[in-house]
Amino acid sequence: MRNIKLTIDNQVVVVPEGTTILEAAKKVNIKIPTLCHHPDQKIKANCRICLVETGDDNLDTACSTFVREGMKVNTKSKLVRETQLGVLELILANHDQDCLKCVRNGHCELQDLCEKFSISRDDIEIIPPHDIVIDSKAMDLLNPAIVRDYSKCIKCNRCVEVCREVQDASILAGAFRSTDYTVQPAYGKTLSQTLCTYCGQCAVVCPVGAIYEKSEIQQVWDAIDNPNLHVVVQVAPAVRISIGEEFGFKPGTAVTGKTVSALRRLGFDQVFDTNFTADLTIIEEGYELIDRISNHKTLPMITSCSPGWINYMEGFFPEVIDHVSTCKSPQQMFGTLSKTYYSKTRGIHPSKIYSVSIMPCTAKKFEAKRDEMMTNGIPDVDAVLTTRELAKLIKTAGIDFANLKDEEFDNPFGITTGAAAIFGATGGVMEAALRTVYEVLTDKELPEINFYDVRGMEGIKESSVKIGDLEVKIAVAHGLSNARKLMEQVKDGKSPYHFIEIMSCLGGCIGGGGQPICTEKCIKDQRISGIYYMDQNMPIRKSHENPYIQKLYEDFLVEPNSHVAHELLHTHYSARHL
């Protein structure tokens, strides 16, 4: 590729052809303001804030303009500064600027720009306060997972792209024209009236506070404050690897011990590990796979632990329901056990146990409220907090997270394995399952415990594993548009695989909709590395070797896929219709 030489603010830059001005400017340490631009997304150029001068009296958006030989770019001329400010003021003229009560206060890209340009509502120069109109004050609060606050939307279209192109759901779209232009589900429906998967990817890419998780922080405080409730909490594998980012740790830093410690300080009675039920999921799902293979039942079998994927499957591919493992997700297995096994061993009535989960996910909130996830009318999981909500809770409580001493999870749901740890990354469930299925079926130790083929950010990964005489063909997909490709095959009866892992979000749970905001691909990569580093350093790395799992079967569940296991740990699906 040809190199292009240009000057930006009188500095000479040489970049390959096809580089945008924005990228070229970064090379010489110039940060051009952006808003609709997202490094993992297509060029949009709708917000118009990144204007730079490219010629006499001509401005171009740096995000969408490619460098040309001999170009002279000025990023801070008077015309540039005035026009950028003008654009910013016009955005603010239709934005609810009640920042103090906004969920994104302090994490908002628009707020950052206002700080940079030193403006707030009362000193927007070109628009007097009485001309500031908020077109829509509508809030969509009608589902358990995602809130849409129309008064905050700046129409950048990041959510539309991720919903349509990455997640293949096409729930959000631009409607109407001019000042009526709105990002909304078709025909102005609420999310609950659509096939929204509640994956929350829209919330993660939103630069402002227009889309976010429905908070359950207050319910959790109320439960903790209630002396009659025994409040237990579980922490999902992908949370410990990302929550540190909210407290200044580098992405991919495992802060498991500090998270446990913080949860105890918040007042949870018992702090447990979702990884324990991840191990349990592997046993149940592994035996289900063995049964399906040995008894020639429906194949390929598809994993079921990602609730965004389950919602997508029920809405868009109900034909493949029989292929999906009947295992509940680790969150729900934990919920059930907390109100049965744990309740029994501790002698606390299930109605007195309040079960909280900390999840990297917004769809988990929806999952916990499903009818199938109730036992005798009591929800298995009472409240779900996202990684972001937990961080907020910790900050509210004044806990100095970064300086906490590491603490251990409580037992019996505290001892876990490397197999469970990798649940948080795409390919992890597959790898964990293979570690167990191989050894159960062959009764031999795995020669190589690491399945590198299924790791990494490739959208669809394929491999095959020789187990005894059988060549087990596997595939892993993350991001629902990738899932669609595999599901078309399954639907047509042409899928060559025995076992498929699907994770709703790109990167798996580490890229979930409840994770710290603006998860870019490079951050996902670091979180994934952190996950495998954890796995490598675990004393036990296979689920079936977890001694507490073995004890759980001895004491309570009898054997994998037993009657009681089916009763408590398995579920069923049904087609979702509009």
Partner: protein, 412 residues
Amino acid sequence: MKRIVSFITENFEKEVLESFEISSGLLRASNMTEDEIIEEISLSGLKGRGGAAYPTGKKLAQSAVFKSDVKYLICNADEGEPGTFKDRDLLKYDALGVFEGMVISALAVRATDGILYLREEYSFLIDELENILSQMRSKKILGHNILDTGLNFDISIFSGAGAYICGEGTSLIESIEGKPGRPRNKPPYTKEQGLFMKPTLLNNVETYAAINAIMKNGYEEFIKYGTEKSPGTKLISLCGNVNSPGTYEIPFGVTLKEIIEKIGNGVKNERNVKFVQIGGISGPLILGKNLDIPFTYEDFDKIDVSMGSGAILVVDDQTDILDFLDAVQAFFKHESCGKCTPCREGNRQLLNVLARMRKGIETESDIVNIERIAKTMKYASFCGLGQTAPTALLSAIKNCPEEIFRRGEQHA
């Protein structure tokens, strides 16, 4: 229909075409190579008649580079610019000439699929247009191996839904693809990846009609009209407070005064011209005292005026300029697609200030800010719609500030 010249509008005379004759221009082109056709158009100095005034020969040459099994050739008949109606008359009186211009262009760039993008308001023309297309098919100047040139090319009609933005090339393409009419990012450029991501050539109705006329008569005849830098003739849509509004073909070089007085038979009720707006609602204003300017690209360039589609709206001295600007901005607020910030939010803010100005209660900062908002829109908008939405306002601020800033004075 009154014309000074009838180079392009030759067939306007004939109310009904007695017999269907293949134009000599098309026959001539069928015996020429692609390069020869493009050369002929280049020599004519023809510029795009939709408003952007890009040299047509150059556009054809750039398009010809992209070879593809499917290559689209679109005729933009979305004529949405208020005050512009010349394309309607071309399609009404000589659609055959337009279609033949399309076939000639298809020969030049080896296009396979022609589309007439017809604005919804012109649906009343569809039956007649379809009739002409089927006659062309029966004469084998559409379809398989046109005039033994080896070209397979047919034309279909696509009716728009009535959005002004769809006159913008990429929005028009989105519209044909079944999407909302909103402009695309460039690159990729239309010539390479346009409709359905295939190479696409897009021209205005008048451009195709002119191509046909030039091929018929030879470029030498065309450049006899006009000036050196603006050769040939141009269709204008003369409207507003004139006695004889209508579509006229004029040679470049006639002054605006001549156009109003001689062609338009003067201002209605013998009033004075306050200003004219050039090129439609997105165009600038030229004050009544400055009408001695010749209608040419080069003379307009000097005063920073874009000729646009050739609309000339004459406004007499009874009209309040603030009322006029308010109507302009209301139009753009209605037609903005909503994609980019400056256009979506800017028009409404301009209207807010204009409303105060009309009441004579504008503040000191309003006077500064109206220009700032307008300039933000001009410099920062995504496409031509938003960039030109404040053109009339900015030109009024520049040319007659005393007319619009009349603080404390009650009007409207």
